[in-house]
Every structure is written in structure tokens, then in C-alpha cells.
């Protein structure tokens, strides 16, 4: 019984191979010791019974070389350039043919590839990546596009500065080197095929430039690309990292700016974590990473007393107050000593830091309240028709001062903070005075009119009586 089973299995395996024995091209080339024919015996297509003639044309049944490889029989020789793709797509773009082989491969590959950066400029063809005569299934570890091999395959061109210069001199050629330093790269070197390789992020056939909105790594598309794996709890099981980053990011100030407002200057995942060299920023480097955009805040933080203490205690710098993926628009509530404040996470009452936080918050609140009072006074003056454009113009500086003050809090230096915010109080004082003066002037004008009308009316009456008197005399 066991012997019968082995026979049946063997038949299944060898029947397609046996069929090739009827292939004149293969037999003849093999007999003359052609290495291509030898190589082809390991090709996925050979195993499916696809003949040399299916790609190269000619007559597989004829033993006569002249007839088999004649133009009349459709022999095309070795296809070059775009012709290679034509040969592959004959089957791979034909749903009916592919179904005959029970293939689940997408028949749109060619369409996708033709539009891609590689296909559009005919930089690469199918064989550039999949090899020729020795093509393996993608899931076959021997395939050049198998995850562990793929990064090397791509780097063959992309790490060759001389070669890349011909197509895109501006494109860096250090992606592979960086990749090796990334968590993804390090894991794949250890044989973990679940981690991201080039095609996982850039896709396989439909690769576009990173600044092309169709690209999977175009900034607004990137968070979703990363989330493909990082938000899949099942897939990420075993890595012991959270899978809610994307969910949090879309609610963050950065996510809203990028995904809702379409602000391409807002950071996507790669702007903080790096792209090819993706790693979570270390505790020490957080302020540097954030400081790429928030330069002033980072500089101020670096000279604050917090910088040294955080480093010693290994407290993640910006993150401790602002969070990481769910960074919300900072509010004044974050400062001070209320329950919503982040300062009280570390500082206790009667501490210097507690007092500084309290004073800073009070001063900001004072300016906000007084500025709003000043605006209300100006509104009232304008409503009364008075010109307060100068004061209104001066008022424009107050939001600027508030922004500056809210930045200076990163120094945790009360003197520097006071120096920044105090001009704001002076402006508000002047504006309130100007507004009240205008309102006073409004009433002054009305009173003035009232009094002058009274005087004129008295004069008119007096004159009228005088005229009557004169005319009576006559």
C-alpha cells in the first residue's frame, strides 16, 4: 500500500516533467549541453509544462532544427527590451490562460507595472527582478524576490550610485545600508520574513516616486502603508509592541494636519522614525527628532533644567508632556498646577518648579483675558463708528507674544518668560486706553453737538424775536 502511494505521488510530480520529454527544443538543447536548458528544468514554468517555444516561438514538435527555429514557425529568438514583457504578458495578462494553471496571480501586474516608475521609462522588465529560465514562485526561498533576497535584489541597482545617476541623480543610494540598521533590516537578516521589505512599503509592480500621490509612500498614504502591518494585532503578535499607533496618529495634531488638511509639511511615520532605517527614537534623541521641525522649542528645552534631569532619569523628553502618536494641539491647560496640567506629573506643591509653573500659567491667563477685554473695547468703539485702526493694528502683536511666551515655557526660566510676556501687557494697556479714549470721544462729540445745537437754537430764537421786533416797529 505504501509503495502504491509513493507511485501516485511520484506520478503527480513527474507527469508535467515527463511531458517536457516531448519538447523538441528542450531535448535538443539539453542534449547539446546548453546550460539554459539545464537551468530551465528548475523553473516554475518548466514544471507546468510550458515549452521554450511558448516564449521564443518556433515548432517544439519538429526534430529538424532548421524547421523548428524558422521564422515561418514564428521563432523570435531571444526577446529584447520591451519584447520580453510582451512574451510574459501573453499569459500573465490573460485571465483564461492563467486559470488553466489554477494560478491566483493577479493578471493586472503588467498594467500596474507599465504605469510604474520602472515600467514607464523601461528601466526594468519582468526578468530584471524575477530572473530568466530559473523563475521561482515568490514564496520559494530560492526566488530573488523572496523577502530575504528582495532587499539585495533591489539594492543591485539602487545601491549603485553610478548606475542610478543615469536615471535619477537626485535619488540617494544608501537605502540598503540604512535598511540594515533598521529594526526591519536587522530582523530580516535573522531570517524573519514577516518584517517589511522594499515591496511591502513601495509595492511590487506599481512603484511610484515618493512624491507621486499614487505612491504607497507618498506622505498622506504612508501612515496607512505602515498600518497594514503595525495595526494588525494578529500579524504583530509576538513582537510585543502596541498596534494602536495609526489609530492614535489620525487623531493627533500631526495626523489631522496631514490627512485632513493635506498639509504635506506635517510629519508622517517616517519623519520621526526614519524610513529605510526605521527605528523608534531613543529617549535621548526624542528632542532632536521633534526639534527637526520644532527647532526653537527644542533649543529652549535643551537649556532648561529639565534637559539634564530627564537625561539622568531616562525620561522621554518631549513625549512626557506631549505624548507620542497621539500628540494633541497643546493648550494652556497643560501648563500650571491644575489637574489637567502636565507639570504636576513631577512637581509637588512648595517646590520651585511648581511655583514657576503656577506663575507662568497665571501670566498667560492674565494676558489672554486682558487681550480679550481689549478686543471687546475696540469692538465697542468701532461699533460706535470710531476709528481705532491703529490700536487694532497694535493688537496684532499680542497673539505673536503669546506664541512666543508659550514657546519660552520650554526653558522653564521665569525671568526669560517674564521678559517675553511683559511687552504683551504693555500693548494691551495701550490698546485699552486707546479704545476707552475713542469711546469717550464718541460721547464727547455727542455732548458737543448737543451743547452747540442748544446754543444755535437759542441764537435762532433770539434772532427770530429780533426780526419780529424790527418788523413790528415798522
Amino acid at each position: 500500500m505504501r509503495q502504491l502511494a509513493v507511485l501516485i505521488i511520484s506520478l503527480f510530480i513527474f507527469i508535467p516533467a515527463l511531458s517536457q520529454t516531448k519538447d523538441g527544443c528542450y531535448n535538443c538543447h539539453k542534449d547539446v549541453g546548453d546550460k539554459t536548458a539545464e537551468l530551465y528544468s528548475g523553473d516554475v514554468h518548466f514544471k507546468l509544462g510550458i515549452s521554450c517555444a511558448d516564449c521564443h516561438g518556433g515548432d517544439r514538435t519538429s526534430d529538424d532544427m532548421e524547421i523548428a527555429m524558422s521564422k515561418e514557425k514564428g521563432f523570435i529568438g531571444i526577446p529584447k527590451g520591451g519584447k520580453i514583457i510582451d512574451v510574459c504578458l501573453r499569459c500573465h495578462s490573460d485571465d483564461v490562460v492563467m486559470k488553466k494553471f489554477n494560478s491566483k496571480i493577479d493578471v493586472n501586474q503588467f498594467k500596474l507595472f507599465k504605469a510604474s516608475v520602472h515600467g514607464k521609462s523601461e528601466i526594468a522588465t519582468c526578468v530584471t527582478c524575477h530572473s530568466v529560465h530559473n523563475i521561482k514562485k515568490v514564496s520559494d526561498p530560492a526566488s530573488p524576490v523572496y523577502p530575504t533576497s528582495e532587499v539585495k535584489l533591489c539594492s543591485r541597482c539602487h545601491s549603485d550610485a553610478n548606475y542610478m545617476k543615469r536615471f535619477n541623480p537626485g535619488l540617494p543610494t544608501d537605502q540598503f545600508e540604512k535598511y540594515k540598521t533598521s529594526v526591519h533590516g536587522q530582523r530580516i537578516l535573522k531570517g524573519d520574513v514577516k518584517v517589511a521589505t522594499c515591496s511591502d512599503c513601495h509595492s511590487a509592480h506599481d512603484i511610484f516616486k515618493a512624491n507621486d500621490p499614487r505612491s504607497t509612500v507618498f506622505a498622506p498614504n504612508l501612515p496607512k502603508t505602515c498600518a497594514k502591518c503595525h495595526s494588525d494585532a494578529d500579524y504583530m503578535r509576538g513582537y510585543k509592541i502596541p498596534t494602536d499607533q495609526y489609530e492614535k496618529y489620525v487623531q493627533s495634531v500631526h495626523g489631522k494636519a496631514l490627512l485632513e488638511k493635506g498639509d504635506l509639511s506635517a510629519p508622517a511615520c517616517n519623519d520621526c522614525h526614519g524610513n529605510h532605517g526605521a527605528v523608534p527614537p531613543g529617549v535621548k534623541s526624542i528632542s532632536h527628532v521633534c526639534g527637526v521641525c520644532h527647532a526653537l522649542n527644542a533649543e529652549m528645552f535643551s537649556r532648561s533644567p529639565h534637559a539634564e534631569v530627564f537625561e539622568k532619569k531616562k525620561i522621554p523628553q518631549c513625549e512626557i508632556c506631549h505624548g507620542n502618536h497621539l500628540i494633541e494641539r497643546p493648550t494652556d491647560e497643560m501648563l500650571g498646577v491644575s489637574t489637567k496640567s502636565t507639570c504636576i506629573k513631577c512637581h509637588r506643591e512648595e517646590e520651585r518648579g511648581f511655583e514657576v509653573a503656577k506663575q507662568m500659567k497665571d501670566m498667560i491667563d492674565t494676558l489672554v483675558v486682558r487681550a480679550s477685554k481689549a478686543r471687546a473695547i475696540l469692538d465697542e468703539a468701532e461699533f460706535k463708528g470710531m476709528d481705532v485702526s491703529d490700536a487694532r493694528y497694535e493688537m496684532n502683536d499680542v497673539p505673536q507674544i503669546l506664541i512666543k511666551a508659550r514657546t519660552v515655557i520650554h526653558t522653564a526660566n521665569l525671568d526669560e518668560f517674564k521678559e517675553t510676556i511683559e511687552p504683551g501687557y504693555e500693548i494691551v494697556d495701550r490698546v485699552i486706553k486707546a479704545g476707552l479714549d475713542a469711546i469717550y470721544e464718541y460721547y464727547f462729540r455727542r455732548w458737543g453737538l448737543g451743547i452747540s445745537t442748544l446754543i444755535i437754537t437759542v441764537l435762532v430764537i433770539a434772532l427770530y424775536l429780533k426780526i419780529k421786533q424790527i418788523e413790528k416797529k415798522k
Binding site: 491703529d390 453737538l449 444755535i456 435762532v460 434772532l463 426780526i467 424790527i470 418788523e471
Partner: protein, 360 residues
């Protein structure tokens, strides 16, 4: 004190013979009838002109002509100069009221036929004063260099360009270039504060002199009235005091308008900005502007706009010469046709002005 006054009077009389003038004035009288009210509009126009002169001079203390300074200096006047807002508002309101008063004065003279012999030249000088007042208005409108003024001047001066042959050259002379620029502003300023006041003062003096010499015109009906039925009041002090009374009321109206409806300055002119919607000239030019707008592009081989200008010019000349072609009818009464023409002109002007506001 009384002796000193007499001495002073004698001192002047000895040198300038003023006794005769005083005598003349004290015997001067004004006819009193149901249309007497119209006599006052000349005085009202004069009073508003005097206010124009005073407030205009005060504005000149701070106004600085120039593309970069005109708007800013007016803004400075209304926001920083003590009572600058009041002076500017009174100036602008009195300018408009003066034009209105002049129009009323003109039509009242027209309908009461006060222009008839021997007052033909008083009418002619009066008409010249009206034309000068309108030129004052047109040139002064641009001076704050705000958006509305800029585009209204642009549209207004464009009409000059429609005159055949010389139109383009004339337009360049008026504008000081192809477009309305700082050069236009400078020449309008010169016209407004130097040339026009000079000419206006001379003609105004002649106009007033004629009125003083000939006195107020009596209504035509009085020609058939026996002298004892004709009523008069002395010019001094009766008429003058009534004049003063009206002036005071007008002064109060001006103050109310200035406080409750301060004259808007608007946005600064930007020659590169598109013209804002609804640009139209000042109300006293609107009837002409609206007529030109409603005219077809061609009227009898003539450009529509030029045709309009031509008709207005001819009509203006006929209006100016009305005392010379208005003749007595066979029955001795004055020609009634004149009244119908005047009524038509008045209704036409009012209708077109209203249309100008409604249609925009």
C-alpha cells in the same frame, strides 16, 4: 466811544466816500411775495461756499498731496488731528449741500424768470459759478485718493476720450498721462485749491455786485400791479437777519450730519486692483452718467458716448443763453414754453439720478 466811532467813520468817509454806499445799502429793499423764499437760496449757497473756504483752508494745513500721502494725510486728519474729523465731515457735507443749494437757486431763478432783462449777465455769471462748482466737486472728489474716488475719476475722465479727434490728447492733458495716476492727483489738486478758487472768487464777486446793483428781481406778475400794491422789506437789517437765521439752521444741520453721518474715507486707491462693483460718480453727475450708460453704442453715425456729450454741451449752452432767447408772447406774458422745458429738465435729472442709484 460814540465819538470815536464817528471819528473813525469820518476818517474812512473822507478817504473812500463810504457814506454814499451806506446810504445806498440802507435804502435797498427786497420784494416780498409768495415766492420770496427762493431769494434765500443764493445766500445759502454763499454761506456754504464760505464754509468751504474756511474748512478747506483748515484741511490744507494737514493735507499733503501725493499717491503716498493723500490718503494717509486725510486719515491722519480724521483720526489724529483735534477736531479734524469734524472739519473734514463739515467740509464734505457742505460741499454737497452747496451743490444742491446752487441747483435749487438756479431752478428757482429759472422758474421765476428772474434772469430776464436787465439781469441776463447775473444769470450768465450764475451759470458759470454752477459749472465751476461742479468742476470743484469733480476735482475734489479724487483728492482723498481712495478706491471709489480713483475709479469714479477714471470712469469720469474716460468720457473726455470719446470726443473725436482731440479726445485722446485732451484725456492725456486732463489725466497727466494715459491713466489716472499721481500726476492726475497733482493737477486736480492744483485746479481745486488754486485755479478754481481764483476764477470762482472773481465771478462770484461780479455776480454779487450785479445783484447788489440791480437788487432782487421782482416777479413778472408785478409788471401789471400798481406800485402801491407791491410789498418790500428793507435789505438791511430785515432780509439780512432772515438770511442769518437760515444760515444758523444750516450750520446746525451740518453739525448733526458731521456727528451722526461722518464722511467715510474708504479704502486706499490701488490702481492695480479691479474696480469694485457699483462704481458711480457723485450724485450731481449721475444724471449725465446714467444717460451716457443708457445710450446705444452708435447714434446716427456718431459714437453713443460722444453723442451724449454733444447733446449735454448744446443743452448747456442753450440753458446758459436762456435770457436771450426767452421772448414775450403776443399777449405780453412770458413764454410758457420755458416753464415746460425747465420742468422737463428737472424731471429728467431727477429720474436719471434715481435710475442711476436703482439700476446699479
Amino acid at each position: 466811544m460814540a465819538k470815536f466811532g464817528e471819528k473813525l467813520f469820518n476818517w474812512f468817509d473822507e478817504r473812500y466816500k463810504i457814506r454814499g454806499f451806506i446810504e445806498f445799502m440802507s435804502h435797498k429793499s427786497v420784494p416780498q411775495h409768495r415766492h420770496s423764499i427762493w431769494y434765500y437760496f443764493g445766500g445759502v449757497s454763499l454761506f456754504l461756499f464760505i464754509i468751504q473756504v474756511i474748512t478747506g483752508i483748515l484741511l490744507l494745513l494737514y493735507y499733503r498731496v501725493g499717491e503716498d500721502s493723500s490718503y494717509e494725510s486725510v486719515q491722519f486728519i480724521v483720526s489724529k488731528v483735534k477736531f479734524g474729523w469734524l472739519i473734514r465731515s463739515i467740509y464734505s457735507w457742505s460741499a454737497n449741500l452747496m451743490i444742491l443749494a446752487v441747483f435749487i437757486h438756479m431752478f428757482s431763478v429759472y422758474f421765476t424768470k428772474a434772469y430776464r432783462k436787465p439781469r441776463e449777465l447775473t444769470w450768465v455769471t450764475g451759470f458759470l459759478l454752477l459749472t465751476l462748482s461742479l468742476t470743484f466737486g469733480f476735482s475734489g472728489y479724487l483728492l482723498p485718493w481712495n478706491e471709489l474716488a480713483f475709479f469714479a475719476t477714471k470712469v469720469g475722465t474716460e468720457i473726455i476720450g470719446s470726443i473725436p479727434v482731440i479726445g485722446k490728447e485732451l484725456l492725456i492733458i486732463v489725466r497727466g498721462g494715459e491713466d489716472v495716476t499721481g500726476a492726475t492727483l497733482s493737477r486736480f489738486f492744483g485746479l481745486h485749491v488754486a485755479i478754481l478758487p481764483g476764477i470762482f472768487t472773481v465771478i462770484l464777486f461780479i455776480h454779487l455786485l450785479f445783484v447788489q446793483i440791480q437788487g432782487m428781481s421782482e416777479p413778472p406778475e408785478w409788471e401789471k400791479l400798481p406800485p402801491e400794491k407791491r410789498k418790500y422789506i428793507p435789505f438791511f437789517p430785515n432780509f439780512l437777519l432772515r438770511d442769518l437765521l437760515l444760515w444758523l439752521i444750516i450750520l446746525n444741520i451740518l453739525a448733526i450730519l458731521a456727528v451722526f453721518f461722518p464722511w467715510d474715507l474708504g479704502k486706499k486707491a490701488d490702481p492695480f486692483a479691479p474696480a469694485p462693483a457699483g462704481i458711480k460718480p457723485e450724485w450731481y453727475f449721475l444724471f449725465m452718467y446714467q444717460t451716457l450708460k443708457l445710450l446705444p453704442p452708435k447714434v446716427l453715425f456718431i459714437e453713443g458716448e460722444f453723442f451724449g456729450v454733444l447733446v449735454f454741451t448744446i443743452a448747456g449752452i442753450l440753458w446758459l443763453l436762456v435770457p436771450f432767447w426767452d421772448v414775450k408772447t403776443e399777449k405780453g406774458y412770458r413764454n410758457r414754453l420755458i416753464n415746460y422745458i425747465g420742468l422737463f429738465v428737472l424731471i429728467y435729472m431727477i429720474t436719471m439720478t434715481i435710475l442711476g442709484y436703482v439700476l446699479s
